[in-house]
Symmetry: C2
Subunit: 261 residues, 2 copies
Protein backbone atom coordinates (compact mmCIF):
# COMPACT_ATOMS: atom_id res chain seq x y z
CA UNK A 1 0.00 0.00 0.00
CA UNK A 2 1.13 3.54 -0.74
CA UNK A 3 0.75 5.67 2.38
CA UNK A 4 -0.05 9.32 1.73
CA UNK A 5 -0.39 11.93 4.38
CA UNK A 6 -1.19 15.58 4.75
CA UNK A 7 -2.43 17.95 7.42
CA UNK A 8 -5.86 18.01 5.78
CA UNK A 9 -7.48 17.78 2.36
CA UNK A 10 -4.56 19.14 0.30
CA UNK A 11 -2.82 15.78 0.01
CA UNK A 12 -5.87 14.46 -1.81
CA UNK A 13 -4.51 16.17 -4.92
CA UNK A 14 -1.52 13.81 -4.58
CA UNK A 15 -3.81 10.82 -3.97
CA UNK A 16 -5.71 11.78 -7.11
CA UNK A 17 -2.51 12.03 -9.16
CA UNK A 18 -1.30 8.64 -7.85
CA UNK A 19 -4.63 7.01 -8.71
CA UNK A 20 -4.43 8.48 -12.24
CA UNK A 21 -0.71 7.89 -12.80
CA UNK A 22 -0.40 4.33 -11.45
CA UNK A 23 -3.95 2.98 -11.26
CA UNK A 24 -4.44 -0.24 -9.31
CA UNK A 25 -1.93 0.44 -6.53
CA UNK A 26 -3.70 0.41 -3.17
CA UNK A 27 -3.46 3.66 -1.25
CA UNK A 28 -3.98 4.54 2.39
CA UNK A 29 -4.47 8.22 3.17
CA UNK A 30 -4.21 10.07 6.46
CA UNK A 31 -5.35 13.68 6.90
CA UNK A 32 -4.55 15.17 10.30
CA UNK A 33 -7.72 17.23 10.33
CA UNK A 34 -7.84 17.45 14.14
CA UNK A 35 -4.74 19.65 14.01
CA UNK A 36 -4.87 21.19 10.54
CA UNK A 37 -3.40 23.49 9.28
CA UNK A 38 0.32 22.79 9.77
CA UNK A 39 1.44 25.76 7.66
CA UNK A 40 0.87 28.37 10.35
CA UNK A 41 2.58 26.34 13.10
CA UNK A 42 6.16 26.23 14.30
CA UNK A 43 8.92 23.94 13.09
CA UNK A 44 8.95 21.81 16.28
CA UNK A 45 5.20 21.32 16.30
CA UNK A 46 5.14 20.29 12.63
CA UNK A 47 7.95 17.74 13.19
CA UNK A 48 6.09 16.18 16.14
CA UNK A 49 2.79 15.93 14.24
CA UNK A 50 4.49 14.55 11.12
CA UNK A 51 6.25 11.73 12.95
CA UNK A 52 2.95 10.74 14.60
CA UNK A 53 1.21 10.72 11.21
CA UNK A 54 3.97 8.65 9.59
CA UNK A 55 3.89 6.15 12.49
CA UNK A 56 0.15 5.79 12.03
CA UNK A 57 0.44 4.92 8.32
CA UNK A 58 3.37 2.54 8.76
CA UNK A 59 1.50 0.74 11.55
CA UNK A 60 -1.46 0.40 9.19
CA UNK A 61 0.73 -1.35 6.62
CA UNK A 62 2.06 1.40 4.33
CA UNK A 63 4.91 -0.05 2.19
CA UNK A 64 6.02 3.34 0.97
CA UNK A 65 5.26 6.85 2.23
CA UNK A 66 4.46 10.08 0.43
CA UNK A 67 4.60 13.22 2.53
CA UNK A 68 1.91 15.01 0.56
CA UNK A 69 2.26 18.15 2.63
CA UNK A 70 4.85 20.78 1.71
CA UNK A 71 5.08 22.08 5.25
CA UNK A 72 5.85 18.60 6.60
CA UNK A 73 8.18 17.85 3.65
CA UNK A 74 10.11 21.04 4.21
CA UNK A 75 10.75 20.63 7.92
CA UNK A 76 10.48 16.90 8.73
CA UNK A 77 11.55 14.85 5.68
CA UNK A 78 14.99 13.81 6.95
CA UNK A 79 13.58 12.71 10.30
CA UNK A 80 10.83 10.61 8.68
CA UNK A 81 13.28 9.07 6.20
CA UNK A 82 15.68 8.01 8.98
CA UNK A 83 12.88 6.47 11.04
CA UNK A 84 11.80 3.73 8.57
CA UNK A 85 13.42 1.35 6.10
CA UNK A 86 10.77 1.90 3.43
CA UNK A 87 10.99 4.47 0.59
CA UNK A 88 9.82 7.93 1.62
CA UNK A 89 8.93 10.62 -0.91
CA UNK A 90 8.42 14.30 -0.35
CA UNK A 91 6.70 16.76 -2.66
CA UNK A 92 9.43 19.37 -2.94
CA UNK A 93 12.33 17.79 -4.90
CA UNK A 94 10.19 16.49 -7.80
CA UNK A 95 8.69 19.96 -8.26
CA UNK A 96 12.12 21.61 -8.05
CA UNK A 97 13.57 19.24 -10.70
CA UNK A 98 10.65 19.89 -13.02
CA UNK A 99 10.88 23.68 -12.54
CA UNK A 100 14.59 23.70 -13.36
CA UNK A 101 13.88 21.62 -16.47
CA UNK A 102 11.12 23.96 -17.65
CA UNK A 103 12.51 27.44 -16.94
CA UNK A 104 14.19 29.28 -19.77
CA UNK A 105 14.93 32.65 -18.15
CA UNK A 106 15.98 31.17 -14.78
CA UNK A 107 13.43 33.26 -12.87
CA UNK A 108 11.44 30.83 -10.75
CA UNK A 109 8.60 31.75 -8.39
CA UNK A 110 7.44 29.70 -5.41
CA UNK A 111 4.22 30.10 -3.43
CA UNK A 112 3.38 28.16 -0.26
CA UNK A 113 2.30 28.40 3.36
CA UNK A 114 4.18 30.68 5.72
CA UNK A 115 6.02 27.70 7.31
CA UNK A 116 7.16 26.37 3.92
CA UNK A 117 8.32 29.75 2.64
CA UNK A 118 10.08 30.62 5.92
CA UNK A 119 11.97 27.32 5.75
CA UNK A 120 13.59 28.49 2.43
CA UNK A 121 13.65 24.84 1.35
CA UNK A 122 12.63 25.52 -2.26
CA UNK A 123 15.15 28.30 -2.62
CA UNK A 124 17.97 26.14 -1.22
CA UNK A 125 17.13 23.14 -3.41
CA UNK A 126 16.78 25.22 -6.58
CA UNK A 127 20.04 27.09 -5.93
CA UNK A 128 21.86 23.82 -5.20
CA UNK A 129 20.76 22.21 -8.48
CA UNK A 130 20.85 25.36 -10.60
CA UNK A 131 23.11 28.04 -9.09
CA UNK A 132 22.32 30.81 -11.62
CA UNK A 133 18.56 30.62 -10.92
CA UNK A 134 16.81 33.54 -9.27
CA UNK A 135 14.08 32.44 -6.85
CA UNK A 136 11.18 34.60 -5.67
CA UNK A 137 9.15 33.10 -2.83
CA UNK A 138 5.92 34.38 -1.30
CA UNK A 139 3.63 32.96 1.40
CA UNK A 140 -0.09 32.73 0.55
CA UNK A 141 -1.57 31.59 3.87
CA UNK A 142 -5.23 32.26 3.06
CA UNK A 143 -5.34 29.89 0.09
CA UNK A 144 -5.49 26.81 2.34
CA UNK A 145 -8.64 27.88 4.23
CA UNK A 146 -10.23 29.02 0.94
CA UNK A 147 -9.69 25.56 -0.59
CA UNK A 148 -10.78 23.79 2.60
CA UNK A 149 -14.03 25.78 2.45
CA UNK A 150 -14.57 24.60 -1.13
CA UNK A 151 -14.31 28.19 -2.46
CA UNK A 152 -12.52 26.92 -5.56
CA UNK A 153 -13.64 29.59 -8.02
CA UNK A 154 -15.36 32.43 -6.16
CA UNK A 155 -14.61 36.08 -6.99
CA UNK A 156 -13.10 36.56 -3.51
CA UNK A 157 -10.73 33.65 -4.12
CA UNK A 158 -9.72 35.12 -7.49
CA UNK A 159 -9.09 38.52 -5.84
CA UNK A 160 -6.95 37.03 -3.09
CA UNK A 161 -4.98 34.95 -5.61
CA UNK A 162 -4.42 38.09 -7.69
CA UNK A 163 -3.18 40.02 -4.64
CA UNK A 164 -0.80 37.23 -3.64
CA UNK A 165 0.57 36.80 -7.19
CA UNK A 166 1.12 40.50 -7.85
CA UNK A 167 4.74 40.63 -6.55
CA UNK A 168 5.56 37.58 -8.71
CA UNK A 169 4.07 39.13 -11.83
CA UNK A 170 6.46 42.08 -11.60
CA UNK A 171 9.47 39.74 -11.26
CA UNK A 172 8.93 38.33 -14.78
CA UNK A 173 9.20 34.72 -13.70
CA UNK A 174 8.54 32.12 -16.41
CA UNK A 175 7.96 29.21 -14.00
CA UNK A 176 5.90 29.06 -10.80
CA UNK A 177 6.01 26.21 -8.31
CA UNK A 178 2.77 25.54 -6.42
CA UNK A 179 4.52 24.79 -3.14
CA UNK A 180 1.45 23.55 -1.29
CA UNK A 181 -0.67 20.52 -2.17
CA UNK A 182 -3.85 22.57 -1.78
CA UNK A 183 -2.89 24.90 -4.60
CA UNK A 184 -3.34 22.57 -7.63
CA UNK A 185 -7.07 22.96 -6.97
CA UNK A 186 -6.63 26.66 -7.80
CA UNK A 187 -4.34 25.93 -10.77
CA UNK A 188 -6.68 27.35 -13.41
CA UNK A 189 -7.10 30.65 -11.56
CA UNK A 190 -3.36 30.86 -10.91
CA UNK A 191 -2.56 30.11 -14.56
CA UNK A 192 -5.01 32.81 -15.68
CA UNK A 193 -3.57 35.43 -13.31
CA UNK A 194 0.06 34.61 -14.23
CA UNK A 195 -0.57 34.37 -17.96
CA UNK A 196 -0.29 31.32 -20.20
CA UNK A 197 3.42 31.89 -20.90
CA UNK A 198 4.24 30.91 -17.29
CA UNK A 199 4.82 27.20 -16.51
CA UNK A 200 2.81 26.21 -13.47
CA UNK A 201 4.51 23.34 -11.63
CA UNK A 202 2.02 21.11 -9.83
CA UNK A 203 3.86 19.16 -7.12
CA UNK A 204 1.13 16.51 -6.92
CA UNK A 205 1.77 15.48 -10.54
CA UNK A 206 5.54 15.72 -10.12
CA UNK A 207 5.64 13.38 -7.11
CA UNK A 208 3.29 10.85 -8.74
CA UNK A 209 5.64 10.67 -11.73
CA UNK A 210 8.60 10.21 -9.40
CA UNK A 211 6.90 7.34 -7.53
CA UNK A 212 6.07 5.67 -10.86
CA UNK A 213 9.68 5.94 -12.06
CA UNK A 214 11.02 4.67 -8.72
CA UNK A 215 8.80 1.57 -8.80
CA UNK A 216 9.77 0.91 -12.42
CA UNK A 217 13.45 0.65 -11.47
CA UNK A 218 12.84 -1.20 -8.19
CA UNK A 219 10.95 -4.35 -9.25
CA UNK A 220 11.86 -6.08 -5.96
CA UNK A 221 9.70 -3.51 -4.15
CA UNK A 222 7.14 -3.17 -6.91
CA UNK A 223 6.45 -6.93 -6.86
CA UNK A 224 5.58 -6.74 -3.17
CA UNK A 225 3.27 -3.73 -3.52
CA UNK A 226 -0.43 -4.25 -2.85
CA UNK A 227 -2.22 -3.75 -6.18
CA UNK A 228 -5.78 -4.57 -5.19
CA UNK A 229 -6.77 -0.98 -5.95
CA UNK A 230 -8.03 -0.31 -2.41
CA UNK A 231 -8.47 3.32 -1.40
CA UNK A 232 -8.66 3.88 2.35
CA UNK A 233 -9.07 7.35 3.79
CA UNK A 234 -8.34 8.08 7.46
CA UNK A 235 -8.71 11.47 9.16
CA UNK A 236 -8.03 12.43 12.77
CA UNK A 237 -11.31 14.37 12.88
CA UNK A 238 -14.34 13.63 10.71
CA UNK A 239 -16.34 16.71 9.69
CA UNK A 240 -18.98 17.11 7.02
CA UNK A 241 -16.99 19.98 5.47
CA UNK A 242 -13.98 17.72 4.96
CA UNK A 243 -16.15 15.08 3.31
CA UNK A 244 -17.70 17.70 1.03
CA UNK A 245 -14.37 19.20 -0.03
CA UNK A 246 -12.77 15.74 -0.42
CA UNK A 247 -15.60 14.67 -2.71
CA UNK A 248 -15.13 17.87 -4.74
CA UNK A 249 -11.38 17.22 -5.15
CA UNK A 250 -11.60 13.51 -5.98
CA UNK A 251 -14.81 13.99 -7.93
CA UNK A 252 -16.35 10.94 -6.23
CA UNK A 253 -17.85 10.04 -2.87
CA UNK A 254 -15.34 8.62 -0.39
CA UNK A 255 -15.84 6.92 2.95
CA UNK A 256 -13.85 8.40 5.85
CA UNK A 257 -12.52 6.42 8.80
CA UNK A 258 -11.61 7.88 12.18
CA UNK A 259 -7.89 7.64 12.95
CA UNK A 260 -6.48 7.57 16.47
CA UNK A 261 -2.81 8.63 16.55
CA UNK B 1 -5.95 35.59 38.46
CA UNK B 2 -8.57 35.53 35.76
CA UNK B 3 -7.88 32.65 33.38
CA UNK B 4 -8.90 33.29 29.77
CA UNK B 5 -8.58 30.79 27.00
CA UNK B 6 -9.23 30.48 23.32
CA UNK B 7 -8.09 28.35 20.41
CA UNK B 8 -5.92 31.21 19.17
CA UNK B 9 -5.83 35.00 19.05
CA UNK B 10 -9.60 35.62 19.16
CA UNK B 11 -9.82 35.45 22.93
CA UNK B 12 -7.49 38.43 23.11
CA UNK B 13 -10.54 40.60 22.37
CA UNK B 14 -11.94 39.28 25.67
CA UNK B 15 -8.62 39.87 27.45
CA UNK B 16 -8.67 43.43 26.12
CA UNK B 17 -12.24 44.00 27.35
CA UNK B 18 -11.39 42.58 30.78
CA UNK B 19 -8.32 44.84 31.05
CA UNK B 20 -10.46 47.86 30.12
CA UNK B 21 -13.55 46.92 32.17
CA UNK B 22 -11.85 45.85 35.42
CA UNK B 23 -8.31 47.21 35.26
CA UNK B 24 -5.84 45.86 37.80
CA UNK B 25 -7.10 42.28 37.93
CA UNK B 26 -4.30 39.91 36.95
CA UNK B 27 -5.01 37.81 33.90
CA UNK B 28 -3.50 34.62 32.54
CA UNK B 29 -4.23 33.82 28.92
CA UNK B 30 -3.88 30.56 27.03
CA UNK B 31 -4.18 30.33 23.24
CA UNK B 32 -4.10 26.79 21.87
CA UNK B 33 -2.26 27.87 18.72
CA UNK B 34 -0.74 24.43 18.12
CA UNK B 35 -4.23 23.14 17.33
CA UNK B 36 -6.09 26.24 16.20
CA UNK B 37 -8.73 26.62 14.80
CA UNK B 38 -11.34 24.74 16.85
CA UNK B 39 -14.28 25.99 14.79
CA UNK B 40 -13.80 23.56 11.92
CA UNK B 41 -13.33 20.54 14.18
CA UNK B 42 -15.77 18.01 15.58
CA UNK B 43 -17.63 18.20 18.89
CA UNK B 44 -15.55 15.42 20.54
CA UNK B 45 -12.24 16.93 19.51
CA UNK B 46 -13.22 20.39 20.77
CA UNK B 47 -14.32 18.96 24.16
CA UNK B 48 -11.01 17.13 24.58
CA UNK B 49 -8.91 20.19 23.70
CA UNK B 50 -11.01 22.48 25.90
CA UNK B 51 -10.62 20.33 29.01
CA UNK B 52 -6.86 20.22 28.48
CA UNK B 53 -6.74 24.01 28.11
CA UNK B 54 -8.85 24.55 31.24
CA UNK B 55 -6.66 22.14 33.25
CA UNK B 56 -3.59 24.07 32.15
CA UNK B 57 -4.96 27.41 33.39
CA UNK B 58 -6.28 26.02 36.68
CA UNK B 59 -2.91 24.37 37.34
CA UNK B 60 -1.25 27.74 36.70
CA UNK B 61 -3.40 29.36 39.40
CA UNK B 62 -6.51 30.69 37.63
CA UNK B 63 -9.14 31.62 40.27
CA UNK B 64 -11.88 32.02 37.70
CA UNK B 65 -12.12 30.91 34.08
CA UNK B 66 -13.46 32.62 30.98
CA UNK B 67 -13.97 30.39 27.97
CA UNK B 68 -13.22 33.14 25.45
CA UNK B 69 -13.93 30.84 22.51
CA UNK B 70 -17.48 30.44 21.23
CA UNK B 71 -16.79 27.02 19.80
CA UNK B 72 -15.52 25.74 23.15
CA UNK B 73 -18.31 27.57 25.03
CA UNK B 74 -20.97 26.04 22.81
CA UNK B 75 -19.85 22.45 23.09
CA UNK B 76 -17.85 22.10 26.32
CA UNK B 77 -19.12 24.61 28.91
CA UNK B 78 -21.08 22.18 31.10
CA UNK B 79 -18.13 19.76 31.23
CA UNK B 80 -15.68 22.50 32.22
CA UNK B 81 -18.08 23.90 34.82
CA UNK B 82 -18.55 20.50 36.49
CA UNK B 83 -14.81 19.84 36.60
CA UNK B 84 -13.82 22.73 38.91
CA UNK B 85 -15.18 24.55 41.96
CA UNK B 86 -14.27 27.99 40.64
CA UNK B 87 -16.59 30.29 38.65
CA UNK B 88 -16.57 29.55 34.94
CA UNK B 89 -17.89 32.01 32.35
CA UNK B 90 -18.70 31.41 28.76
CA UNK B 91 -19.17 34.02 26.03
CA UNK B 92 -22.58 32.96 24.74
CA UNK B 93 -25.13 33.73 27.50
CA UNK B 94 -23.99 37.33 28.13
CA UNK B 95 -24.32 38.07 24.40
CA UNK B 96 -27.72 36.38 24.22
CA UNK B 97 -29.04 38.39 27.19
CA UNK B 98 -27.81 41.64 25.67
CA UNK B 99 -29.31 40.81 22.25
CA UNK B 100 -32.72 40.09 23.76
CA UNK B 101 -32.53 43.37 25.69
CA UNK B 102 -31.66 45.37 22.56
CA UNK B 103 -33.89 43.88 19.86
CA UNK B 104 -37.14 45.65 19.08
CA UNK B 105 -38.42 43.60 16.15
CA UNK B 106 -37.36 40.23 17.60
CA UNK B 107 -35.33 39.34 14.52
CA UNK B 108 -31.89 38.38 15.76
CA UNK B 109 -28.96 37.29 13.59
CA UNK B 110 -26.01 35.20 14.72
CA UNK B 111 -22.71 34.65 12.92
CA UNK B 112 -19.99 32.25 14.06
CA UNK B 113 -17.75 29.36 13.09
CA UNK B 114 -19.27 26.28 11.54
CA UNK B 115 -18.97 24.32 14.82
CA UNK B 116 -20.74 27.06 16.81
CA UNK B 117 -23.55 27.50 14.28
CA UNK B 118 -24.06 23.73 13.88
CA UNK B 119 -24.38 23.38 17.66
CA UNK B 120 -27.50 25.67 17.54
CA UNK B 121 -26.54 26.93 20.99
CA UNK B 122 -27.40 30.58 20.30
CA UNK B 123 -30.73 29.68 18.78
CA UNK B 124 -31.66 27.45 21.72
CA UNK B 125 -30.64 30.03 24.35
CA UNK B 126 -32.43 32.89 22.59
CA UNK B 127 -35.62 30.84 22.11
CA UNK B 128 -35.55 29.71 25.74
CA UNK B 129 -35.30 33.27 27.08
CA UNK B 130 -37.45 34.91 24.43
CA UNK B 131 -39.82 32.42 22.73
CA UNK B 132 -41.23 34.84 20.12
CA UNK B 133 -37.77 35.69 18.77
CA UNK B 134 -36.82 34.66 15.24
CA UNK B 135 -33.17 33.64 14.97
CA UNK B 136 -31.15 33.55 11.73
CA UNK B 137 -27.75 31.89 12.04
CA UNK B 138 -24.97 31.68 9.46
CA UNK B 139 -21.43 30.26 9.62
CA UNK B 140 -18.59 32.54 8.43
CA UNK B 141 -15.59 30.18 8.59
CA UNK B 142 -13.14 32.32 6.61
CA UNK B 143 -13.30 35.27 9.02
CA UNK B 144 -11.06 33.52 11.56
CA UNK B 145 -8.14 32.97 9.16
CA UNK B 146 -8.57 36.52 7.81
CA UNK B 147 -8.26 37.96 11.33
CA UNK B 148 -5.38 35.65 12.22
CA UNK B 149 -3.55 36.91 9.12
CA UNK B 150 -4.04 40.48 10.32
CA UNK B 151 -6.21 41.31 7.27
CA UNK B 152 -8.43 43.53 9.44
CA UNK B 153 -9.52 46.00 6.78
CA UNK B 154 -8.50 44.79 3.33
CA UNK B 155 -10.89 44.96 0.35
CA UNK B 156 -10.96 41.14 0.19
CA UNK B 157 -12.01 40.97 3.85
CA UNK B 158 -14.77 43.52 3.21
CA UNK B 159 -15.99 41.50 0.19
CA UNK B 160 -16.08 38.25 2.14
CA UNK B 161 -17.88 39.93 5.06
CA UNK B 162 -20.42 41.35 2.61
CA UNK B 163 -21.00 37.93 1.06
CA UNK B 164 -21.47 36.29 4.45
CA UNK B 165 -23.82 39.00 5.71
CA UNK B 166 -26.01 39.11 2.60
CA UNK B 167 -28.54 36.46 3.78
CA UNK B 168 -28.87 38.33 7.10
CA UNK B 169 -29.48 41.66 5.37
CA UNK B 170 -32.56 40.28 3.59
CA UNK B 171 -33.99 38.94 6.89
CA UNK B 172 -34.37 42.46 8.28
CA UNK B 173 -32.72 41.66 11.59
CA UNK B 174 -32.23 44.60 13.96
CA UNK B 175 -29.64 42.87 16.17
CA UNK B 176 -26.61 40.79 15.21
CA UNK B 177 -24.58 38.69 17.63
CA UNK B 178 -20.88 38.30 16.80
CA UNK B 179 -20.72 34.68 17.87
CA UNK B 180 -16.95 34.34 17.62
CA UNK B 181 -14.35 36.21 19.64
CA UNK B 182 -12.37 36.97 16.49
CA UNK B 183 -15.21 38.97 14.98
CA UNK B 184 -15.11 42.09 17.22
CA UNK B 185 -11.92 42.95 15.33
CA UNK B 186 -14.08 43.24 12.20
CA UNK B 187 -16.87 45.08 14.03
CA UNK B 188 -16.55 48.33 12.06
CA UNK B 189 -16.77 46.55 8.70
CA UNK B 190 -19.69 44.45 9.92
CA UNK B 191 -21.50 47.51 11.26
CA UNK B 192 -21.01 49.30 7.94
CA UNK B 193 -22.30 46.36 5.89
CA UNK B 194 -25.32 45.80 8.14
CA UNK B 195 -26.19 49.49 8.47
CA UNK B 196 -26.09 51.68 11.57
CA UNK B 197 -29.67 50.79 12.58
CA UNK B 198 -28.53 47.23 13.46
CA UNK B 199 -27.24 46.58 17.00
CA UNK B 200 -23.96 44.68 16.85
CA UNK B 201 -23.52 42.55 19.98
CA UNK B 202 -19.87 42.08 20.87
CA UNK B 203 -19.55 39.03 23.13
CA UNK B 204 -16.15 40.14 24.46
CA UNK B 205 -17.70 43.27 25.97
CA UNK B 206 -20.75 41.36 27.21
CA UNK B 207 -18.72 38.76 29.10
CA UNK B 208 -16.42 41.41 30.64
CA UNK B 209 -19.48 43.21 32.01
CA UNK B 210 -20.83 39.92 33.39
CA UNK B 211 -17.55 39.12 35.18
CA UNK B 212 -17.51 42.63 36.67
CA UNK B 213 -21.10 42.26 37.96
CA UNK B 214 -20.39 38.78 39.33
CA UNK B 215 -17.36 39.97 41.31
CA UNK B 216 -19.33 42.95 42.61
CA UNK B 217 -21.92 40.64 44.24
CA UNK B 218 -19.38 38.02 45.38
CA UNK B 219 -16.99 40.00 47.60
CA UNK B 220 -15.76 36.77 49.25
CA UNK B 221 -14.28 35.77 45.88
CA UNK B 222 -13.37 39.29 44.81
CA UNK B 223 -11.29 39.82 47.99
CA UNK B 224 -9.20 36.77 47.13
CA UNK B 225 -8.59 37.78 43.50
CA UNK B 226 -5.04 38.68 42.47
CA UNK B 227 -5.09 42.40 41.61
CA UNK B 228 -1.42 42.98 40.86
CA UNK B 229 -2.32 43.79 37.27
CA UNK B 230 -0.14 41.01 35.84
CA UNK B 231 -0.78 39.99 32.26
CA UNK B 232 0.62 36.58 31.32
CA UNK B 233 0.17 35.15 27.84
CA UNK B 234 0.74 31.46 27.11
CA UNK B 235 0.37 29.79 23.71
CA UNK B 236 0.86 26.14 22.77
CA UNK B 237 2.85 27.21 19.69
CA UNK B 238 4.79 30.45 19.36
CA UNK B 239 4.81 31.92 15.86
CA UNK B 240 5.81 35.39 14.69
CA UNK B 241 2.41 35.80 12.99
CA UNK B 242 0.60 35.24 16.32
CA UNK B 243 2.79 37.82 18.02
CA UNK B 244 2.15 40.31 15.23
CA UNK B 245 -1.62 39.83 15.26
CA UNK B 246 -1.73 39.82 19.10
CA UNK B 247 0.13 43.12 19.19
CA UNK B 248 -2.33 44.55 16.63
CA UNK B 249 -5.33 43.46 18.73
CA UNK B 250 -4.02 44.58 22.11
CA UNK B 251 -2.30 47.63 20.61
CA UNK B 252 0.84 46.93 22.61
CA UNK B 253 3.75 44.53 22.55
CA UNK B 254 3.22 41.38 24.60
CA UNK B 255 5.63 38.67 25.66
CA UNK B 256 4.55 35.13 24.81
CA UNK B 257 5.39 32.03 26.87
CA UNK B 258 5.39 28.46 25.58
CA UNK B 259 2.69 26.29 27.19
CA UNK B 260 2.94 22.53 27.49
CA UNK B 261 -0.48 20.93 27.96
Amino acid sequence: MIGIFDSGVGGLTVAKSIIQQIPGYSIIYFGDTARTPYGTKSHETVVKYTLEAADFLVNKGAQTLIMACNTASSVAFEKVKKRYDIPVFEVISPAVDLAIEKTKNNHIGVIGTRATINSCVYEQKIKKNSPPAKVYSYPCPLLVPLVEEGWFNKPETRMIVKKYLHPLKVRQIDTLILGCTHYPILKKIIQRKMGKQVNIIDSSLAVAQEVEQFLAVHPELDNKMDKKGDEIFFVSDITSQFEKTANMILKKKIFLKQAVT
